[in-house]
């Protein structure tokens, strides 16, 4: 379980906080989606939930982050890494730059954890299988497509076998097949008890993936509830978030004067 209480975070050198009084709890096995316009504080909230803000990048956090009842305050970055991982949007900056093959790249996290070679290999193979990367394990990680790089970056995180996973737009560079693959991998993680927080613009993905969705506006949580309810909320568009395609279709049809009951039947 990952829990933020009254979290207000200000970057070093900023006059004002970027996230304000956020209360957010992600239970074991739960997938929580995070939506909001650009600049609404999604990425910052992800960093705060990962503990890296302030543990690595500095700044000031008021309120608390708790990871399985352990307060995150005071943990070193490598101690955080044993409990929570965060993936970023750009896979190119997440490559270690020292691995000659995709296998070595994914194995780096387990190696850093000081695990035995047998354990490192087992975890690496498991992460590779989850994202079906077997065909490219021997390739140079610098010579992959954007989508492949993104899958490798996610696999590199999964190989750490984290209890908590935070992903900031994990499917930005992925095609529909890759997006589905990530969705399946995240479902499997949640089924094994991992708590996940996923910031995404693709609301269609979130609807199928998440138990709960939280909407952020100007650094504050403005909507929080079951995925279907939040993503169907009439106020979502005003927050700069595009609702899932079936919601938009239903609204367009209704605006064109089509009977509501017939729309629902057609969408089913």
């Amino acid at each position: 379980m990952l829990e933020l209480r009254q979290a207000t975070y200000r970057y070093a050198g900023y006059a004002r906080p970027v996230v304000h009084e956020v209360d957010l709890r992600v239970d074991d096995g739960e997938i929580v989606g995070l939506v909001g316009a650009n600049d609404s504080g999604k990425s910052t909230l992800c960093l705060v939930a990962s503990g890296l803000a302030p543990a690595s990048i500095g700044g000031e956090l008021k309120g608390t982050l708790t990871l399985d009842r352990t307060p995150a305050a005071g943990l070193r970055t490598y101690q955080l890494a044993e409990r929570v991982v965060i993936g970023f949007q750009n896979p190119n900056t997440q490559r270690s730059g020292i691995a000659a093959t995709v296998f070595e790249e994914i194995a780096l996290g387990p190696i850093n954890l000081g695990l035995s070679v047998t354990e490192t290999v087992a975890r690496t193979r498991e992460a590779i299988a989850r994202l079906r990367l077997e065909p490219i394990v021997q390739q140079d990680p610098q010579r992959l497509s954007g989508g492949q790089s993104q899958l490798v970056a996610i696999a590199s995180l999964l190989a750490m076998r984290p209890r908590h996973v935070i992903l900031d737009e994990p499917t930005a560079q992925l095609d529909p097949a890759g997006t589905q693959l990530v969705g399946e991998a995240l479902h499997a993680l949640a089924a094994a008890g991992t708590s996940l927080l996923v910031a995404e613009h693709k609301t269609d993905l979130l609807e199928g993936l998440c138990d709960r969705v939280v909407a952020l506006d100007a650094g504050r949580i403005v909507l929080d509830g079951p995925a279907g309810r939040v993503l169907g909320d009439p106020g979502l568009v005003a927050l700069g978030v595009e609702p899932p395609s079936h919601v938009r279709l239903g609204r367009s049809a209704a605006a064109a004067g089509v009977d509501r009951a017939r729309i629902d039947v057609a969408l089913q």
Partner: protein, 136 residues
């Protein structure tokens, strides 16, 4: 070079070099091709907007100068995200790491190393004692 730079660095770590230093050494070696590629991308982007990078040597140097800033700045802006991504993967954790790589070290290589060390010792001793003829 007959030895891959990475193999060299990881073997040094196996022999006791700190993982942090090994990373810096390995990443520096790997950063060169990445930097060349980045420069290529920026050069293409600038050429697409009319930058002339062809012609005489002086014209080419003048053409390359506007690329230096963007290449360096774009490398630096990524540093923070890169370091975060490494920290997420427990980089900097104290203690030994179990590396996957075992650099083959044959008996023959070991013999050659020992012979070379003995030769070095013999050369120093003979030079100091004057038993080895000095070159004119």
């Amino acid at each position: 070079m007959t030895t891959e730079p990475r193999s060299f660095v990881f073997d040094l770590e196996r022999r006791g070099l700190s993982p942090r230093f090994a990373f810096v050494a390995a990443a520096t070696l790997e950063a060169v091709p990445a930097m060349v590629e980045r420069a290529g991308v920026i050069a293409s982007a600038q050429r697409a907007r009319g930058l002339d990078t062809e012609g005489s040597v002086s014209a080419r140097i003048r053409g390359v100068l506007p690329l230096v800033g963007p290449v360096i700045v774009s490398s630096l802006t990524e540093v923070e995200e890169r370091s975060l991504a490494l920290e997420v993967r427990a980089f900097g954790r104290p203690g030994r790491r179990q590396l996957l790589w075992r650099i083959p070290d044959s008996r023959g290589q070991l013999v050659v190393r020992v012979v070379m060390l003995l030769g070095l010792a013999a050369a120093i001793v003979s030079r100091l004692t004057g038993t080895f003829p000095s070159l004119p």
